[in-house]
């Protein structure tokens, strides 16, 4: 057995939870809740007398409502009037904007394009933006996400709110070309998010490397999925010679390691 296999076996043996069946947590809590819309079919036995229990239930419910009303009335009368704490509007608006960006990113990571567009502002809800989102989501689902975090409001926190996040690429081609950390800017209005282009990284050079690799090693795939000519004008964004679409990303993302190695080796011709 090679060293590689022996070391992998050590890793397998270091499994913190070797047996799923050893998990004894009771799954009951998730299913305890009674779904409110469940349909129940009651089957009465032939000898079962009809029992009209609902009048008693209605009477009990009515009594409970009256009692609760009385208690609430007494409590609110005995409590001195206290105005609500004034909230800091800037803080609240800023926190909501950050939350909106966070939820937008979750939808993007999940590849839920309908949700992404529903949470997008009108400036980035077009077909070409959808395709760019699909491009990003495809890289993510192929294990090469651009991690967006460290989001912060750019003062003042007045709508339209500008949010800037750190974007860290895990694409090995980007790493090879020195594109690792960038700035991901967002504009938030009414809880809707417009994603702006990354700043601080030459992504065109990264995309051009993919395009060049495909030209040499998979011209058919390039023509079919990544050439701008493969799409209707105005329905996509192009960068570095590639049409940034989900279809193109599905072709190039699995090649990332190979392309990175090819770049590292000086981009030799086949």
């Amino acid at each position: 057995m090679s060293d590689v296999e022996q070391i992998y076996d050590l890793f397998v043996a270091a499994n913190p939870v070797p047996d799923d069946r050893a998990i004894t947590a009771d799954p009951q809590p998730f299913t305890d809740a009674e779904p409110t819309h469940r349909t129940r079919m009651l089957v009465r036995r032939a000898d079962q007398r009809h029992q009209r229990s609902w009048p008693r239930a209605v009477a009990a419910a009515a009594l409970a409502v009256v009692a609760a009303g009385a208690v609430w009335g007494w409590w609110s009368a005995s409590r001195p009037f206290q105005p609500a704490e004034p909230s800091d509007p800037a803080t609240t608006v800023g926190a909501r904007a950050l939350q909106a960006v966070e939820e937008w990113l979750v939808a993007l990571e999940a590849g839920d394009m309908d949700e992404v567009l529903a949470r997008s502002g009108p400036a980035t809800r077009s077909i070409e933006d959808r395709r760019v989102h699909e491009w990003a989501a495809a890289f993510s689902t192929h294990g090469l996400p651009t991690i967006i975090d460290e989001c912060a409001i750019v003062p003042p926190a007045i709508e339209p709110i500008s949010v800037r996040c750190r974007a860290t690429s895990s694409d090995p081609v980007a790493a090879e070309l020195g594109v690792v950390e960038m700035v991901a800017p967002f504009i938030v209005v009414d809880g809707l998010v417009d994603w702006q282009a990354y700043r601080g990284g030459d992504l065109a050079a990264v995309n051009a490397a993919y395009a060049q690799y495909l030209t040499l090693f998979d011209p058919t795939g390039l023509e079919a999925f990544c050439r701008p000519a493969a799409y209707e004008p105005g329905t996509f964004v192009q960068n570095g010679g590639l049409a940034l679409t989900g279809e193109c990303a599905a072709l190039v993302a699995p090649l990332a390691e190979q392309v990175a190695e090819w770049v590292r080796n000086g981009r030799p011709a086949p």
């Binding site: 060293d3 590689v4 296999e5 070391i7 992998y8 050590l10 890793f11 397998v12 043996a13 270091a14 499994n15 913190p16 939870v17 047996d19 799923d20 069946r21 050893a22 998990i23 947590a25 799954p27 998730f30 299913t31 779904p35 469940r38 990113l105 979750v106 990571e109 999940a110 689902t141 192929h142 294990g143 090469l144 996400p145 991690i147 967006i148 975090d149 460290e150 860290t168 895990s170 699995p254 390691e257």
Partner: protein, 184 residues
């Protein structure tokens, strides 16, 4: 997707059948305090998407795929929280230990887990899915949303990278930290 059961019955059956597997998946990657929260989120998403679930033999991979995405998000948030804590005038507490930190006892375990922690997330995840979840490559492909050929290739490379990182670590020296660098 077939069956005459209501969505609730289907979900109930799915939950009971796969809860342990999903919890084990999370416990292999997170501290127990976080694992239960993530499991709840995974099944909440599964409930929302119950009508889009795959065939029964693919359910486990489908749930692992959801868990992988939820965890990616969780790690990102956790990293942000830790940075915030660290900025708070030295008041930062150590984050709860990862399961690897708690469980690994033998020196070799420590060393190999630390070596795995030096790999990129996609490499590490493929090794875990194959070695810890014991998934065949076809199911790993479903979880990660990539082709089986890509899984074959990446698994082969990830094993070689693991061996390389393992050899780089000093033999016999106790590892200072075995926390995996999640999210990156």
């Amino acid at each position: 997707m077939a069956g005459n059961h209501s969505a609730e019955n289907v979900f109930d059956r799915l939950y009971r059948a796969h809860h342990s597997a999903v919890l084990a998946y999370c416990l292999r990657r997170l501290a127990p305090s976080d694992a239960h929260d993530v499991v709840s989120e995974v099944f909440t998403i599964a409930w929302r998407k119950i009508e889009a679930r795959p065939a029964d033999d693919k359910i486990r991979s489908w749930l692992y795929g959801i868990a992988y995405r939820v965890l990616s998000h969780h790690w990102r948030g956790r990293r942000r929280r830790h940075r915030l804590e660290e900025r708070m005038a030295g008041l930062a507490e150590s984050p709860p230990p990862d399961p690897e930190t708690v469980v690994v006892r033998r020196l070799e375990d420590r060393r190999v887990v630390e070596a795995a922690g030096r790999l990129r997330l996609p490499d590490r995840e493929i090794l875990r899915l194959a070695g810890w979840e014991q998934l065949p490559h076809s199911e790993i492909a479903t979880v990660l949303g990539i082709s089986v050929a890509a899984v074959d290739q990446r698994f082969h490379r990830a094993k070689k990278r693991l061996a390389r990182e393992y050899e780089r670590l000093p033999a016999g020296a106790p590892a200072g930290s075995v926390r995996m660098r999640e999210g990156r």
